[in-house]
Amino acid sequence: MKLMHTKLPDFYKKLQDAGKKFNPDTEVVVRGMENMESAKLASLRVGRAEEFMEELAENPDVAKIEVTVLPQIPETIHTIVFKAIKKDGTAGKAILGSMFITTPAAECYYHDAEEVDDRRVPFD
């Protein structure tokens, strides 16, 4: 069955397949989603990501493609679930908190690129 969204494991596989399409030795390294055990990704964006990978990979001079996933808004607001587990293994009290996290912005990952083509979704 085809879904309207992409499963996280399929996303990783699609990036690898597209990056190695022209040369199976091209190394593909994906980072930034290590703490996600499961996720839904917008298929429209996944298809474009596969095209971007191919576009970079078809250059015979390319040996490796680094893919870094980071929030497009570099300060993200997170829910934190603080939950006590009792000695019998059942859940006791839980407190929900917020955390505002600012992470290094995209410039840190592309500042040394010889060419930059920004195809991100615009905010306005």
Partner: protein
């Protein structure tokens, strides 16, 4: 070709006490160069290339410290620059002027300073960016700019390199002295400033918060932990006599800490030294826990004492105003460089 003048306090300045490059620009120099504020930040980014915060300041304006004291300058734009770039969506923020209105003065009692202190009367007010300025940030996002490694937060007063995670605080009087080529007191913030930063006033589009916490409340609301949250960070502050001068101006027109002004350790200590009233019962219990954790006790403040004169307070400001560990005074001219960016 025009040149834009800017003042750099380099990383490592002040005997290694300043951990991050900081750039200050006078609004008049931006106007003289024929640039918009954003263009000014862009030409500096291209000229400097290193990770840095930029604050553009109007010295003919007024702003408000986090605890509600008016100061005569205003940050009109701020930015984060790195690798010669400014992040197109989050690297720059402009601060819209807040027009004078009776509604604003009625809602925000600390703003009586604007009307009642000659040095501030009729001057343009700049505090924090409004919702339109902040787009595409959402209301809960901090008032900060982010490019590469640099987050320039709380409208230009807290700068962090989020890669090596060094940070520096620039309290209101520190920025004032930097712009006036005066003196700055550089040290480690310590527990009193850590607590004091949370003792804010209710403001529409404040430098840190928008209509969130009123005088007498604690924004930190973290009990005994409030004294630790910012205590280890280097701070570039104004001399304590500068803080005392501006705080006394507010107290002299009848504003009351805990009701009209934030109940920070500095404001309470100066009010006590002057013998001015404090709204003890309006300071919430959670705020007293934080104050008492740094030795500001209600019983001591309520105890009878002989009021000091203005001159005595200025002379003894270093003893009266708590906060800042291992502080050392530096002339701004000795720790800064004037540079010019081609534009």
């Amino acid at each position: 070709m025009n040149k834009l003048k800017y003042k750099l306090i380099p990383q490592g300045a002040a005997e290694g006490r300043n951990p991050i490059h900081l750039i200050f620009v006078d609004k008049k120099d931006v106007v003289a160069a024929g640039l918009t504020y954003r263009q000014a930040c862009e030409v500096i980014a291209k000229d400097f290339k290193e990770p840095s915060a930029i604050n553009i300041i109007d010295m003919d304006a007024v702003t408000v410290s986090s605890d509600g004291i008016m100061v005569d300058y205003g940050i009109v734009a701020f930015a984060s620059v790195d690798y010669g770039m400014i992040n197109k969506d989050f690297g720059y923020l402009e601060v819209s002027e807040q027009p004078y209105s009776t509604k604003l003065l009625a809602e925000e009692p600390h703003m009586k300073q604007w009307d009642n202190i000659d040095a501030y009367k009729g001057k343009r007010l700049y505090r924090g960016p409004n919702f339109e300025d902040r787009w595409p940030r959402v209301p809960h996002n901090e008032t900060q700019t982010i490019t590469g490694r640099i987050a320039n937060n709380n409208t230009g007063s807290e700068v962090m390199n989020v890669v090596d995670m060094t940070e520096v605080l620039i309290p209101a009087y520190g920025a004032l002295e930097i712009m006036k080529d005066g003196e700055v007191l550089i040290g480690v913030a310590g527990p009193e400033i850590s607590v004091g930063i949370g003792m804010v006033v209710f403001e529409t589009y404040g430098r840190i918060f928008h209509r969130s916490y009123g005088a007498g409340l604690t924004a930190h609301n973290s009990g005994k932990y409030a004294k630790t949250v910012k205590s280890d960070y280097p701070a570039i502050a104004g001399p304590k006599r500068t803080l005392a001068e501006y705080t006394m101006r507010a107290l002299e027109i009848g504003l009351v800490p805990g009701k009209d002004l934030g109940c920070s350790p500095a404001v309470l200590s100066i009010a006590k030294a002057m013998g001015k009233p404090i709204a003890f019962d309006n300071i919430e219990e959670r705020a007293w826990i934080e104050l008492e954790s740094v030795g500001i006790r209600r019983a001591d403040l309520e105890a009878p004492s002989t009021p000091m004169t203005r001159e005595e307070i200025l002379a003894k400001a270093d003893e009266i105003v708590p906060g800042l560990t291992d502080g050392k005074l530096f002339k701004v001219a000795d720790i800064s460089e004037i540079r010019y960016a081609e534009c």
